[in-house]
């Protein structure tokens, strides 16, 4: 059952599906132009968007909970490994992989502890063997981290960081306020491709999808308290 006002949950569900669809398009663009950066975030957004839509609107959920738990466990491990590799390569810094690891972790928690969602809009199909609920303090902490990520991503003078981090070539190419920077050898990032592909994979649009996902996921975590 979707609580009132229903339009609010449909709104968030559609926004989540839009993020998932955009992630799919970005994946296709990455294949088309042989871009190697950011595809892992796109894949994560596809899964997160589809599953979050099912949480906001009961009828839109599908698939057994165990499969979703497996998917988000794999994503969590992937982003954690990428975080460690980034620190090893570039030294101690706040890598963008960490926020995606946190989001994967949050998704995993939502499936493992669905009991707290009784007051929210969680899908009945998510019910698992566990009746325990996620600790409200952890929910609040994760929600606050996601809101902070949304705000600081929007305010960043350099766009695309949420997808590519601060050390990738694609991030450098976007430049501050869309400025351009010379590039060393290697395939050109999509943002430099121009035309429709350039528009689709514009760094600010990638950031926007991250912001929408952060706000949607934060809202769901608040509902789970």
């Amino acid at each position: 059952m979707t609580p009132t006002p229903a339009w609010l949950y449909y709104f968030f569900a559609i926004a989540m599906l839009a993020v998932a669809a955009y992630g799919l398009v970005l994946l296709a663009v990455s294949v088309a132009i042989r871009r190697s950066a950011g595809w892992d975030v796109d894949i994560a957004h596809v899964f997160m968007g589809v599953s979050m839509a099912g949480m906001f609107v009961t009828g839109w959920a599908f698939g057994p909970s165990a499969i979703w738990e497996l998917i988000f466990t794999v994503l969590l491990i992937w982003f954690l490994v990428q975080s460690v590799q980034s620190v090893i390569t570039f030294g101690i810094h706040l890598t963008h992989y960490l926020i995606h690891a946190a989001m994967s972790f949050a998704m995993l928690l939502m499936y493992v502890f669905p009991a707290g969602a009784s007051s929210g809009a969680m899908s009945m199909s998510m019910a698992s063997s566990s009746s325990a609920r996620i600790d409200p303090g952890l929910s609040l902490l994760l929600a606050f981290v996601f809101f902070a990520s949304a705000i600081f991503t929007l305010a960043s003078p350099v766009k695309g960081v949420s997808h590519h981090g601060r050390h990738s070539r694609a991030y450098a190419m976007s430049g501050p306020a869309g400025g351009t920077v010379g590039t060393p050898n290697g395939p050109a990032p999509a943002s430099a491709a121009g035309g429709a592909l350039g528009l689709i994979s514009a760094p600010w649009l990638e950031d926007a999808s991250h912001v929408v996902m952060c706000v949607g996921m934060g809202f769901m975590l608040i509902l789970m308290i």
Binding site: P136, L154, A172, P184, L223, I225
Partner: protein
Amino acid sequence: MSVTEVRAGDAPAPVIDARGVTSSSVEQPRDLQRTFQLVLATVWLLDAVLQLQPFMFTRGSSGFSGMLNNLAAGNPGWVAHSITWNASNVYHNPVVSNTVFALVQFLIGFGIVWKRSLKAALALSVVWSLGVWWFGEGAGNIFHGAATPFGGGPGAVLIYALLAVLLWPSAGSDTPFVAARSVGMTAAKVIWAVVWGLLAILAVVGSGRSPQALHDLVAAYTGQPGWLAHIDRATASMFLHHGATAAILLAVVCVIVAIGVYLPPQFTKVTLVLGIVTFVFIWVATENFGGILAGGATDPNSGPPFIILALIYWPLTLARKAATSWPSNSTAQSNEALVR
């Protein structure tokens, strides 16, 4: 490492080495005033999302209008009347009114993000905060002597308004702390002393020093997670037996923190840490994170805003002063030097 090209602009440009690796983030100093503006925006975004909780759209005693109506109790007639009038409006249009309330807070949060709308968003936040303080917090219970800082007095949202003023965008200058950038050092210090002096007074007037009232304040919380309920029981018991002492101790701490900004920087830091620790304790043990963890809150109460307030008074080192003035001088100049 060979630098290929750098673009100078209103923000530091990335620098790419031969591996195609950028390093601008490492070299870019952080504008502290901007950082705290964004932290404030994050709190507004949290408030906006909390406003979207299902019960906020409902009528009845457990709905939003019921919450507002309950705030009228104990206030003078004319104050209570204005609060019940507002609650009545919300009662008759719960979905529309709550949607508007949430949208305003989204507008403030995201408005602070864009520099073009920053001033308008901060101005809106001041007006909105004062309105919420009156109609949504019952004027912080200040009119009936129950505005103890242990319970969030004199009203968390007043501090939001104060933060908007103290974080008003202003050109970088050689100020000793972030809050001094907008209103000047003398005014900022006076504001600090007045705020903490007021807290000291509120801690010991009215029911603020009543052991039973303080006990009831904490004991009233229900639906908290187990670990927080355990802390509540300990706090409630402490208040019941030593409530008056706790109130006087809080007042003394507030006075020390109030005069702290007039002391040498090393002592100022100690008093600021004392203020932060005090409000971390209050936020956890007596405000219960604003009641958010019980699923029935619209904001995190006064803990976070007071902690942000203390941090913008933190004495800056010479290096940090240079950083807070970005992008007005040093970084832009160094970027231009790189381009040349």
